[in-house]
């Protein structure tokens, strides 16, 4: 596929997409089947255009940004800021100034908790989260609550793994200051009606933060349609290098927030005992940023734009729908989360009989099927489900129905080894 053009890709032409990913086209080595990579929810693979963008930066115009008046630095600065514009357009931000480059989703949420949170949250204030949050959208608020004396409350789940919106309404009646929730559960795959939750939260006077780590890579996300105050996501789950992440924030909010880290780049004027801050987003980008990684994120956004996020969503719905159909055939299968593919994104969590997920994953690895096993950084959710861990297969643009077939075959191998079938 040529990603420099804006030609639409033939629907479900995953073979052409796979050709763009060097890691999927390696020789798997003797006695090893070709790799089936089903752990994109942890970190996606990278297409050649992203790897080349990173390489090109380091070979041709590596320089620090916003400082040098020489050509290399101007080129690097231009590409870094171009990546910011690409990201802003990708999520429908009103201005590129609303997009702060951070390392990852975790850093984005901590930034909000430690700046907006410390400025706005007081003793007795309520922060509403959900029980299916990733630890990165639980722990920063626990730290803030500990510091401020704020209270935390968590929206419950329905039996099929969706958010209980009646319970949300009960909590909203208590006038929370903030509602922070995941758009897509990284453990269950549940796709949350983020626009509706945002609407209700705003009507109750709360600020809204959305964890977009599992949604921005997988479906069209528009911050104006969601009407959220903050959106946090990671580049490395959407084809970009690790070290690239984004905090979107409404400009007026970002401007009112105190800085996160102090240092170079984030200042306007420094005296020995006091300083003033640069305009947003620079105010939140202290020190030398991950320039090459941000440029790589720009290349990743261009690649996804060429595919079209509607296509990405449709492709995943097809593959995940097929996976749900095939997985129920496997003896001993317990699936978690909604069974309707329209109500979930690219994640399928399951358990196989009483075989521990780590044993399942190890046997799958023997078949060269890479999945995640464990609590997926959602220990409270695991407790809610009554399990210690699950096996998780997560899908992305390069996965196919054939990958699902390989997963199912490998699960039969696990059943044979453990004598279940």
């Amino acid at each position: 596929m040529q990603t420099q053009t804006n030609q639409p890709v033939t629907p479900l032409d995953a073979a052409a997409i796979r050709a763009d990913f060097p890691i999927l086209n390696q020789d798997p080595g003797p006695d090893r089947k070709p790799l089936v990579f089903l752990d994109s929810a942890a970190s996606s693979q990278k297409p050649a255009v992203v790897i080349e963008a990173l390489d090109d930066y380091h070979r041709r115009y590596n320089a620090n940004i916003h400082r040098g008046v020489y050509q290399l630095s101007e080129l690097a600065t231009g590409r870094y800021e171009q990546a910011r514009h690409l990201v802003a357009d990708f999520i429908g931000a009103a201005s590129h100034r609303e997009c702060v480059f951070v390392r990852n989703t975790t850093e984005a949420i901590n930034l909000v908790a430690q700046t907006w949170g410390r400025r706005n949250i007081r003793v007795g204030d309520l922060i509403v989260l959900t029980v299916m949050e990733h630890h990165s959208n639980l722990v920063p608020w626990q730290i803030l609550a500990e510091e401020t004396g704020a209270e935390l409350a968590h929206v419950r789940l329905t039996p099929d793994g969706r958010l209980d919106l009646d319970h949300l309404d009960d909590l909203l009646a208590r006038d929370p200051k903030l509602v922070a929730f995941t758009h897509v559960s990284n453990s269950l795959g549940t796709l949350v009606d983020a626009a509706e939750i945002s609407r209700r939260a705003r009507a109750a006077g709360a600020a809204v933060l959305i964890d977009g780590a599992q949604s921005v890579p997988h479906l069209p996300v528009d911050v104006r349609q969601l009407d959220c105050d903050f959106l946090a996501f990671s580049g490395h789950k959407m084809l970009a290098p690790m070290g690239s992440g984004v905090l979107y924030g409404k400009k007026a909010l970002l401007e009112a927030m105190p800085p996160y880290m102090g240092g170079g780049s984030m200042i306007r004027k420094v005296e020995l005992t006091r300083s003033t801050w640069a305009d947003v987003p620079a105010k939140f980008e202290a020190g030398t940023p991950a320039v090459g990684d941000a440029i790589g994120l720009g290349a990743a956004v261009e690649y996804l734009n060429a595919l079209g996020m509607d296509w990405v969503r449709e492709h995943e719905r097809d593959v995940v729908g097929y996976a749900l159909e095939r997985l129920v055939e496997v003896p001993g299968m317990t699936l978690y989360g909604p069974l309707d593919p329209a109500a979930r994104s690219g994640v399928v969590s399951f358990n196989l009989g009483d075989i521990h997920p780590h044993d399942v994953a190890a046997i799958l690895d023997g078949e060269n099927v890479a999945v995640r096993a464990g609590h997926h950084c959602t220990q409270p959710l695991m407790r809610e489900l009554g399990v210690v861990a699950t096996t998780r297969a997560s899908f992305y643009i390069y996965n196919t129905r054939e990958d699902v077939d390989r997963l199912v075959e490998a699960l039969h191998v696990a059943n044979r080894i453990f004598g279940l079938a």
Binding site: R32, H356, H358, D359, D365, G366, G374
Partner: protein
């Protein structure tokens, strides 16, 4: 790697996983200690009775992957009747040799959890050693 996984789930592991030896608890016990492997949530508890400075009885309980549970089961057989000094001098290599299977770095924490718990119990420490120190 195919061979590695096949041999990881060799009969000895599956046998001890399905039919664990010395499974249960001791009440009263001279030592009782438990720990978890946060990576995969494996849990192991070991209860021990000592007579004449020897392991008079040992039981383990817990839940987790086949590797963690089977290796703990095998470990309990290794230390039954041994003197406490002999148990203290037991190394991770002794246990891995007894398992007789190739354990990848990712599964080492699983394979050595039982030994970690046993040593922590015997030394009576709150903070167990790293796997590297076993």
């Amino acid at each position: 790697m195919v061979h590695m996984v096949d041999s990881l789930y060799r009969e000895i592991i599956l046998d001890h996983y399905r039919n664990p030896r010395n499974k249960g608890t001791l009440d009263p016990a001279d030592f009782s200690y438990e720990d978890t492997n946060p990576l995969c949530g494996d849990e192991v508890r070991i209860d021990l009775r000592v007579a004449d400075d020897r392991v008079a009885a040992i039981r383990f309980s817990g839940r987790g992957c086949a590797v963690s549970q089977a290796s703990t089961s095998i470990l309990t057989e290794m230390v039954e009747g041994k003197s406490l000094d002999e148990v203290k001098s037991l190394t991770k290599d002794d246990l891995l040799e007894e398992l007789g299977i190739p354990v990848s770095p990712a599964r080492l924490k699983c394979a050595l959890l039982g030994l970690k718990v046993l040593k922590a119990g015997i030394y009576g420490v709150d903070h167990t050693e790293d796997e590297d120190d076993l």
